[in-house]
């Protein structure tokens, strides 16, 4: 387990409107996420775990409190800096994969690398490496629709890994998969955390996913209820 703090969250609050109703998704939530861990946020639907994940991934704006990422305060970052962090430092894995359907597995992984203006050689190297880690190099020429759900999720993981991010964030990534495939995905992520020292943060309902985590935050009604640390 790494000792450096990746995320420091202080008194974060977040609310949104649903019709005329104001929903308080997070209330004064504070926690720290050290790097090199497989971290999970568990809790029932509507508990606020996905909202917290969105804030950590810079895909929603912090309303109250502070979030620090590697010492940098999110609220102080310019839009350009946020875009750059999302492009280079944060990898995303979504429940519904969000692969570009017209691109092959290889192109899906390579696209955002090319957008980082990396050299052709570097793009090729990273793409191959990422697809080999998830065991899909043989299927690199297939488009998402020609792949199974588990394979698509593995392409999404490869896409996130190829950036060589500091953190990979995933929202309910096994929810669309069967238990066996979900386990395969978690095996890959678990190995990554161990071998590549990447921090992986996931939200989940699934106890199987939770069983892989070194650090679990149980959230309910927007509040941190329990923190569980386990030896990896």
């Amino acid at each position: 387990m790494g000792s450096k703090t990746l995320f420091k969250i202080n008194n974060v609050g977040f609310s949104y409107s649903l019709g005329s109703q104001k929903i308080c998704a997070l209330k004064n939530l504070s926690l720290e996420i050290p790097e090199g861990n497989l971290v999970t946020f568990s809790g029932p639907s509507g508990s606020g775990k996905s909202t917290l994940l969105n804030l950590l991934g810079l895909i929603d704006e912090v309303q109250e409190g502070e979030i620090h990422f590697l010492g940098e305060k999110f609220q102080k970052l310019s839009t350009r800096k946020k875009n750059r962090l999302r492009k280079k430092k944060i990898g995303f894995i979504f429940q519904s994969f969000h692969l570009v359907p017209v691109l092959t597995a290889e192109e899906n992984v390579a696209y955002f690398l090319k957008r980082q203006k990396l050299s052709r050689k570097e793009v090729k190297k990273r793409t191959r490496e990422a697809l080999e880690i998830v065991g899909l190099w043989e299927h690199r020429k297939k488009k998402p629709l020609q792949l199974s759900g588990g394979q698509r999720q593995r392409v999404a993981i490869a896409r996130a890994l190829a950036k060589k991010p500091d953190v990979v964030i995933g929202d309910e990534i096994t929810a669309s998969l069967d238990q066996k495939t979900g386990r395969e995905i978690m095996d890959i992520l678990s190995k990554l955390v161990k071998n590549k020292k990447i921090t992986v943060i996931l939200t989940t309902h699934d106890s199987m996913v939770q069983s892989y985590s070194n650090l679990n935050f149980h959230i309910q009604d927007g509040e941190l209820i329990e923190t569980t640390r386990e030896a990896s």
Binding site: N54, I59, D60, T79, L85, K87, F92, H98, V102, F112
Partner: protein, 402 residues
Amino acid sequence: MSLIFLAFRNLFRNVRRTIAIILTVGLGAGALFSFEGFIQGIQDDYKDSTIHSHYGNGQVNTVGYRDTNHDEPWKHWITNYNELEDHLYELDGVDYVFPRISIAGMLKSKTTSVIGQGQGILPAYEAEFFHSLNIEEGSIEQRISNGILLGKGLAESLDVKIGDQIKFYTKTIKGKNNSGKFRVTGIFSTGMVDYDNRAFRMPLKKAQQLLKTNRIETVSIGLSDHVHWKDVADSVEDDFYDLEAVSFAVLDKIWYQNSMDWLNAQFRVVQIIILSIVLLGIFNTISSSVLERKQEIGNLRANGESGIDVIRLIVVEGFFLGFLGAIVGLSLTYGVAKGFLHEGILMPPGPGQSKQFFLKFEFNWQMLVSALSLSVLSATFASLFAGMKVCRMSIAKALRSY
């Protein structure tokens, strides 16, 4: 992999949606293009009818003759007609040269007498060019030397029909009485009742004999294409200092130009309505298709693409779709107009006309460019609008959208 490459690949992602957009843009571009072609067809046909009904492409008179009332008009008629004719036939585009003189007098049938104002012309020769003169009965050609064509109202006043004889009384240029016998060979109408009530046409030679002159009042010119008019007019005025050449549009200003202006004003209103419907249709289809892709856009942004880059991607896609749709629509429209409808659409008689006619779609590059650019611009602008709308959403909200 550039944004442009991805934008291009995205066109083939949802084939049904792409086809729907291409059809919408294509129909819109085709509607604009065909309506422009239709208007041009009407204008060209009307212009052609006017040229071929009376004036020709233009006329030559002595300078100032048309603008002044003269006590003795024949003193201002053209004296060097043969020289002018030779000169005209040497110019590019001149197919016909028609000498004419005015002649007034009394026409007498078995039952009545009517004062008329007519012209002496070369009937058989004029028949080759003035094919859109509305001949109600008989023939324009007047192949017999004493044939006469009467305006419809004049024929009715005289109560004569084809083949009947009439007598014509006039004065020579010196003021002496003269007369001749004629046989009615045709009855024409121009749509202008006043004119038809007194107009007639007789052979030029006969008219010159009756007036006892060898001068020519007016020379009408028939061109292969009206584009030659300016050069012809300039050449006549440069080489014959006492002559002026005036286009048919000026000679027939009240009827031709006003009718054209009136028609154009109506067409413009319809065109604005069509344009609004087309642009709104394209705008709606394209922007809906972009707004359906919020999740995908959210994903691009979550992975670090800036809002500007995403908008650029969507705008490039919109441009491609607009261009592709417009090309498809314009090609199909052109193909249908020049293939399936190559003979034109049967139309009712135009203003002042008595015959139905086949309207052909007439296209030019300006119409093509205008239909193409309007379609492409509206598709591009719709993409920009929808792209900006989606990019204003938070990424999380875009990702949650369905």
